[in-house]
Amino acid sequence: MKKSMLRTKNLVFEYIRRDEEGNVEDILRALDDVSLEVQKGEFVAILGHNGSGKSTVAKHINALLSPTEGAVFVNDMDTQDEEHLWDIRKSAGMVFQNPDNQIIATVVEEDVAFGPENVGVPTEEIWRRVEESLTAVGMTAYRTHSPNKLSGGQKQRVAIAGIMAMRPDCIILDEPTAMLDPVGRKEVMKTVHELNKIEGVTILLITHYMDEVIDADRVIVMDEGKIVMQGTPRQIFSQVDKLKGYRLDVPQVTELAYELKKQGVPMPDGILTVEEFTAAYTAVKAKYGQGSV
């Protein structure tokens, strides 16, 4: 049996707005009874429209937010337990959306060292970890550069290296590619997948780009603070209508296959890649002949 890395149990979180006297003015339930589990070594993606609560979940896992009700466990440590705060943040690193706003130092290698410095790692060990982390994200050539001169994708990889240097068991990425160009997005996603496969780091990817979800082991769809769908990418993307109901899109090829099916072409459900599409389409064509399609 695999070991559980992250677990939330009936997690509820409410944003409470107070007026000047401190009376409750408005309560906004951002998370409503969210229970999810991520196993060690898994690559899980959380999908959701803006305001679906997906980032709020991420902040709970890193103990940046505390649950209103329910509980969050990282490596079986309760995030509400002050005693484990630093252990939790060490084992569940977090990468944020804006690459500029999470790089602290003016030199790449010093930024990677920031995390280990905070937890009191000895100097020689810091150098070793910086070296390893920069190699893992393929940024060794830039170690003495200023972050300001890097591209968005490179900055985001430096940020990931900064997390890796703390030797986490798990990395939570909160829309890491939302501010990047297509090249940067590809770079970052490739890095994340490599970390998952080669270093065995558990990944929790929060995104609203469908294409990034295809290669995940499991997808969780959130809407209005609730988990509404869960399953493999294929299971999820087979339900095009349901996804559209949550204001989410499907990958382009999936959409094309779906539309063809609606028009009467017998395409299978849950096509995720161009290769699958061409294979299925050729099969359909061979079976029913040129004229019918």
Partner: protein, 267 residues
Amino acid sequence: MIRDITIGQYYPVDSPIHRLDPRVKLAGTMLFLVSLFAFSGYLGYVIAAVFVGIVIKISKVPFRYIVRGLKPVLILLLFTLLFNVFLTREGKELFSWGIIHIYDQGLIIAGLMAVRLILLVIGTSLMTFTTTPNQLTDGLEKGLRGLKKIKVPVHEIAMMMSIALRFIPILIEETDKIMKAQQARGADFESGKLLQRAKALVPLLVPLVVSAFRRANDLALAMEARCYHGGDGRTKMKPLKYKKRDAVAYLILFGYVGLVIGSGFLF
């Protein structure tokens, strides 16, 4: 283009002065400033000037570079010169016309004041020429560690300085972006009188401040997520360690200070 702005005026060459521990350079600059006002007599000026000259030579920073650094203080220099020349009423009167009286002592004091100021500016800029802002913050943090006992938040100040250094170029870029966005919608930053131009900056500053706060909030979250919890128990990737050359530099410094102060008693 705006990306290329460098903060501080670090001159990147490799010299014995560059390699010194930043604490030595900080202490050296302080001592030098004090020494400039500690001596009396002409010999002090000569010693101070020679000392600065030698340091410039060792630092490999081109002299014209240093002279260029004097430009911003030119006006201040001129003011002190004029005040000293016109307001000193000592010694022999050399020239008098209406309310203007010039005395020989005035000229001498003005001249010496100018030399002192120039030496002072060169002395401090030598430090910034040979030390990166990062080293400076590191040096300040470690050098002033003792102040922690009287509750001066030394680590926090140093952290703030280094974050400021990191974000200045980002905010400059952002200013540029906002300016262009507003110019595209007809904002005018370049014409009009001073007051008008200052007023035109208000719509620029508001979004800039708002965005700076947002960035600060993001950064604080990111720092917390990376286990930042103040200076206690923190280790360093590049800790400052005194080397032999730093001890030599300290010795030379004290020698210089002794000489300058001593010169006043000799003559």
